[in-house]
Point group: C2
Chain length 347, copies 2
């Protein structure tokens, strides 16, 4: 059992440097209160000699600050969210903040508990991707700052970062049309999220704006809800929709998937039914997760800049916390079509 050394506090430093704890604190906490150079030096040296580490709990308690921010997402196992987190972490680290990571698995109760826990930990800001934003207002009133991802909620005083899924889907479908496709199906998990609904709308709008009938038969939309905690749900759903495609004997030549994972599942299962992508059917994904380019065929997809979303969210939040910026804003990121090899032009 290693002997644990006694913790050295600011009092120890002060004593060694022969100054008051107040002075030691002023030097060590980077306060702008003036301290004579001689004393300052003594304090710094004593701190070094004693290998002093400040106790952040005490500092935060007294000064009512925090250098942690909360991040609440459905699940880190979704590569889209891991990119978001990466962006947040990069920016947060740059400014000396740490991340408290919370996975809700889309469980409202879990989300509630996490919010409360973050509040109790005196976190001042939270970046959250939530389904039901019911509880958030309560914490805004308590003084927490929020940045919401992928969700627009009126009357909520916080910043929003969203992505123009409508336009993304629209662009994707137009690209298919330009490539000669007119029978285009839409593959998705249930339209429970705002983003998915927008994507669906964009798909339909692009079709009708181009004089193509919107046929319900081409809606391959999963019906059973995602189960809490289930991994690979989107992938599985994509496979099921491929089965459904075959069952319905659809003649679509192209498909827009609501996200890349769905596209992967769809493509793999179509392969089992003897249909190749892009030779027999073209597929466009959505998100551009890093595997999209590793897939075979490399997936043509709408880029949802997850890393950028994370970075922006952190910037907005931390600017607010540091008082650099007081106004809330809605940032809408524009889609970009990444053309790879999963779409074949029709003759």
């Amino acid at each position: 059992m290693p002997r644990v050394k006694d913790k050295v506090t600011i009092y120890d430093v002060a004593k060694m440097a022969n100054v008051s704890p107040a002075t030691a604190s002023r030097v060590l906490s980077g306060s702008n209160y003036p301290v004579k150079e001689a004393l300052r030096k003594r304090v710094v040296e004593a701190a070094k000699k004693l290998n002093y580490s400040p106790n952040m709990l005490a500092r935060s308690l007294k000064s009512n600050t925090s250098n942690d921010i909360g991040v609440i997402i459905p699940t880190i196992s979704n590569p889209f969210y891991s990119s978001v987190i990466l962006g947040i972490e990069k920016e947060a680290d740059k400014r000396g903040y740490n991340l408290l990571l919370c996975n809700t698995f889309r469980d409202v109760e879990k989300e509630k508990r996490y919010l409360q826990s973050l509040y109790e930990k005196q976190v001042k800001g939270v970046i959250i991707s939530t389904l039901g934003a019911r509880n958030i207002q309560e914490y805004i009133e308590k003084g927490l700052e929020f940045v919401l991802l992928d969700q627009k909620i009126d009357n909520l005083e916080c910043s929003f970062i969203s992505f123009d899924c409508f336009k993304g889907a629209y662009m994707a479908v137009e690209y298919l049309i330009q490539n000669g496709h007119r029978k285009i199906a839409f593959v998705s998990s249930p339209l429970t999220k705002w983003t998915r609904k927008e994507t669906f709308k964009g798909y339909k709008a692009a079709l009708s704006d181009n004089g193509i009938a919107v046929e319900e038969e081409y809606f391959l939309i999963g019906s059973h809800e995602e189960e809490i905690d289930e991994e690979g749900f989107e992938f599985k759903n994509g496979k099921e929709m491929a089965d459904e495609f075959i069952k319905r004997k659809l003649d679509a030549t192209a498909v827009l998937a609501v996200n890349d994972m769905t596209a992967f599942g769809f493509i793999q299962q179509m392969y089992l039914h003897g249909k190749r992508v892009p030779d027999d059917i073209s597929v466009i994904g959505f998100d551009d997760i890093s595997f999209a380019r590793m897939f075979s065929p490399p997936l043509t997809t709408v880029q949802y800049p997850a890393y950028e979303v994370g970075r922006l969210a952190a910037m907005l939040l931390l600017d607010k916390l540091s008082g650099n910026n007081h106004s809330n804003m809605s940032v809408n990121l524009h889609p970009k079509l990444i053309i790879r090899d999963s779409v074949k032009p029709l003759a």
Copy 2:
């Protein structure tokens, strides 16, 4: 600007319930100090009425405890680590702990800063995947508990969780041999990590134990170091090694990749060179990240149970922190070959 309500403290609760703060604390913190039922009820009701939330900073400061644990990994954007994190989070949440997530990007300086920061936040335990464990000893002496992933360091008083990469590679190569392959290459990024070295050893051992000459020509091992912060490094390296394979005009019929990402890169690039997997060449990956089964062809690979690693790490750490268990241990997880479609039996 929403008016922020004044924070309600335990003193407010005590006053409303007409008891001393001491009594209120005993009720609200779940202490086992006896409190008469009548008072207890008054306290609970007052807390509810005032919507009281304890200040964890104050609680932790006074009681010298923490319900945060630190997690230090190279990068969350690697799906292997996101699974590890998921396992940790699940177990931690179950026991009321939160995660402080730190991505080092294999930067030793960053790791140092994070360790210090976690220590200052009074975290009591850290799960870490580190390259250089030099600094860890110092924090062990300061009383921190560690669980190390993928690393064995002698004379370090902490628990280890590792994976038998040697055996995993050995099993994979034997499987190839059973399928008639005798010319088997090894594809890898530089052997800077302990796990990669073990994998390489296992590959060589399996060959020689089966009376197959170990030929240096078949070592397709990247030479340039991973750059800090680079995403998709393993994938890119896999592609480069495919180019190298062609350049060397190798006649290998099968390949063992050091991890799945490398395998993906290799397979994609070989495809560009006109070689199909598994028809022209068989490939076995390593890790079984969730994309392995979504890939085409679904990848035969050695399962490295990342989620389980995370869960175990959290269990060991939290058992220790809660005093349930005082001894350190080394847990070695056994490999399992997941057979899918990327290996073809030779006639």
